[in-house]
């Protein structure tokens, strides 16, 4: 059976992150915790960020959702861990542009697996799934900067 169109959305690497999420769990000891829902579909992500001296020293997530939202969260934690907050925000902007189908030069950003989610741009109904964790990260950073 051919699943060409679907294979473009559900790449092997996405399914791998969905089944074996990286950085899954919680953080205590001074970590920021932010929960974000997608109220239209019931997806829920709880993101824990440990930011010290402008660096994302640790990050973990928990939650419920579809393959796209959980895989995206897993990939995000991988690429932002150990990075400067500023770089994490740049990655988020890059990801957001990618979801809008824009052809943006990543310059020196290390993208990790997130490029595998490129196909989501062609499924408008699923873009919100993919951006949920990133939105949570941006909000957490924002709250951290304005206590």
């Amino acid at each position: 059976m051919s699943f060409n169109n679907l294979d473009n959305l559900y790449r092997q690497v996405i399914m791998d992150h969905y089944k074996n999420p990286r950085n899954h769990g919680s953080l205590s000891n001074g970590a920021l915790t932010l929960e974000m829902n997608n109220p239209t579909c019931g997806d829920r992500i709880q993101l824990h960020l440990l930011i010290e001296d402008g660096i994302v020293n640790d990050v973990k997530f928990e939650g419920e959702g579809c393959s796209i939202s959980l895989a995206s969260a897993s990939m995000m934690t991988q690429v932002i861990k150990g990075q400067e907050v500023e770089t994490a925000l740049k990655l988020s902007q890059y990801f957001s542009d990618m979801m809008l189908g824009k052809d943006v030069d990543p310059a020196d950003l290390e993208l990790g697996d997130i490029e595998a989610l490129q196909g989501v741009a062609k499924f408008p109904a699923r873009i919100k799934c993919a951006t949920l964790a990133w939105k949570a990260m941006e909000k957490a950073v924002d709250q951290n900067e304005q206590p």
Partner: protein
């Protein structure tokens, strides 16, 4: 019932989605519109569009006649006693909010109770939560049986002499449960409580006679019964509506306006502030004509047969969990093991099949089902057995696809 002929009335169904003929199984979210309704709205705008109840010009009179004619058409359709018991609203949500804001605020105190259930759509929970917060009244829930139905015993136990309002859905938009409204009304009335029925999923699919149900209020949306979006109805017994204050103030609903005080028009217009939903009402009347011509009893029978067939077919899919009672209205909510409903719905969409995935605006019920989200296929008069065959094939494909990638 000639489904092929009915399908030919719905232009939208004649298209391909993702290279496959469209199978529309999301009528519980909104129904499709027959050309008779589309043409009625078109005809109104092309020939009679004017504001109503004002001016003396000819097309204004025609618009008023069509708008008020639609009200009378609704009255006949639901067997209400009086035309002025029909209030046009934006939909079910605004109809229920009207009752909560007007009747509720005026009649409830902290000594009172509001009774509802955990199977309600958000539109029949949140207005009552807000009313409870504002008045101090207590919100109570009739417990659900494991299959998602209510028992008369539990209904009797939950409704007491302190109950002032019983708010209940006619048909659950997730479980398909059909609630015994007539019996509930009888019990509620013994305790002098009023009954507010959320009819959004009821009236599109079965004959509704409000006099027989004896409910005090019945709220429904046009768009789920072949009419345009943006129009709905609040039916209320005249004795309550007459005593109730309007909740929206402005043009159209007034009698006399002075600088510091005003008086209201009589029923039903005191509840219809601003320019009303004229084209929507015209479309609703056309939808009622259409459904009446097909026959509500025929539609119910058709959907019952479809659901039976769908249940037989779907239960052959291993790992498919179905929620709700055996005896149900024309919808089936389900989950495939280990496949999130969004992913299921995306695979189905790639096959041209439209289903709903998510919490269906019923988060408390999702909690009760212990599911974060579910997929739902809902049927209407234009669906056929072949639509169900396509759904079953699509689900097998989803299983295979996600089985492959894992």
């Amino acid at each position: 019932m000639d489904v092929a002929a009915i399908r030919a009335d719905f232009p939208i169904l004649d298209q391909e989605v993702n290279g496959k003929p469209l199978v529309y199984l999301d009528s519980a979210a909104t129904s499709q519109k027959p050309k008779q309704v589309i043409e009625a709205v078109n005809h109104y705008y092309r020939n009679n569009n004017s504001n109503v109840h004002r001016g003396v010009h000819t097309i204004g009179t025609r618009a008023t006649e069509q708008y008020e004619g639609a009200r009378e058409r609704v009255r006949q359709f639901i067997s209400a006693k009086h035309t002025e018991e029909i209030i046009f609203t934006r939909g079910t949500t605004s109809a229920i909010n009207l009752v909560a804001s007007s009747y509720g605020r005026a009649n409830l105190t902290e000594a009172d109770e509001i009774v509802t259930t955990q199977m309600e759509h958000h539109s029949n929970i949140i207005p009552w939560q807000q009313l409870a917060k504002a008045t101090g009244a207590k919100l109570k829930f009739i417990p659900l049986e494991p299959d998602g139905t209510l028992t008369l015993d539990n209904i009797k136990k939950t409704i007491t002499d302190s109950t002032k309002i019983v708010a209940i859905t006619h048909v659950s938009n997730v479980l398909g449960t059909v609630n015994p409204i007539q019996a509930i009304t009888k019990i509620a009335h013994q305790h002098h409580a009023v009954v507010v029925v959320d009819g959004a999923q009821g009236i599109p699919h079965m004959k509704v006679d409000v006099s027989e149900l004896d409910c005090d209020f019945y709220a429904f949306s046009g768009h789920k019964m072949c009419a345009p979006t943006g129009v709905g109805v609040l039916y209320g017994k005249k004795e309550w509506l007459e005593a109730m204050e309007p909740v929206e103030f402005g043009g159209e609903m007034i009698d006399f306006v002075d600088l510091y005080d005003s008086t209201w028009k009589e029923l039903p217009w005191k509840f219809e502030g601003g320019t009303p939903i004229i084209a929507g009402a015209v479309g609703l009347a056309a939808a009622i004509d259409y459904l009446t011509e097909v026959g509500l009893d025929n539609i119910t029978k058709h959907e019952t047969q479809l659901v039976e067939y769908a249940m037989d077919q779907l239960t052959t899919i291993e790992g498919l969990e179905i929620y709700g009672p055996k005896k149900r209205a024309g919808l089936i909510t389900f989950n495939l093991t280990d496949v999130h409903p969004h992913d299921t719905a995306t695979v189905l969409d790639s096959e041209g099949i439209a289903v709903r995935a998510g919490h269906h605006c019923a988060q408390p019920l999702m909690k009760w089902l212990n599911a974060t989200a579910t997929a739902r296929a809902s049927f209407y008069l234009y669906n056929s057995r072949s639509d169900i065959d396509r759904l079953v094939d699509g689900l097998r494909k989803a299983k295979e696809f996600f089985g492959d990638v894992f």
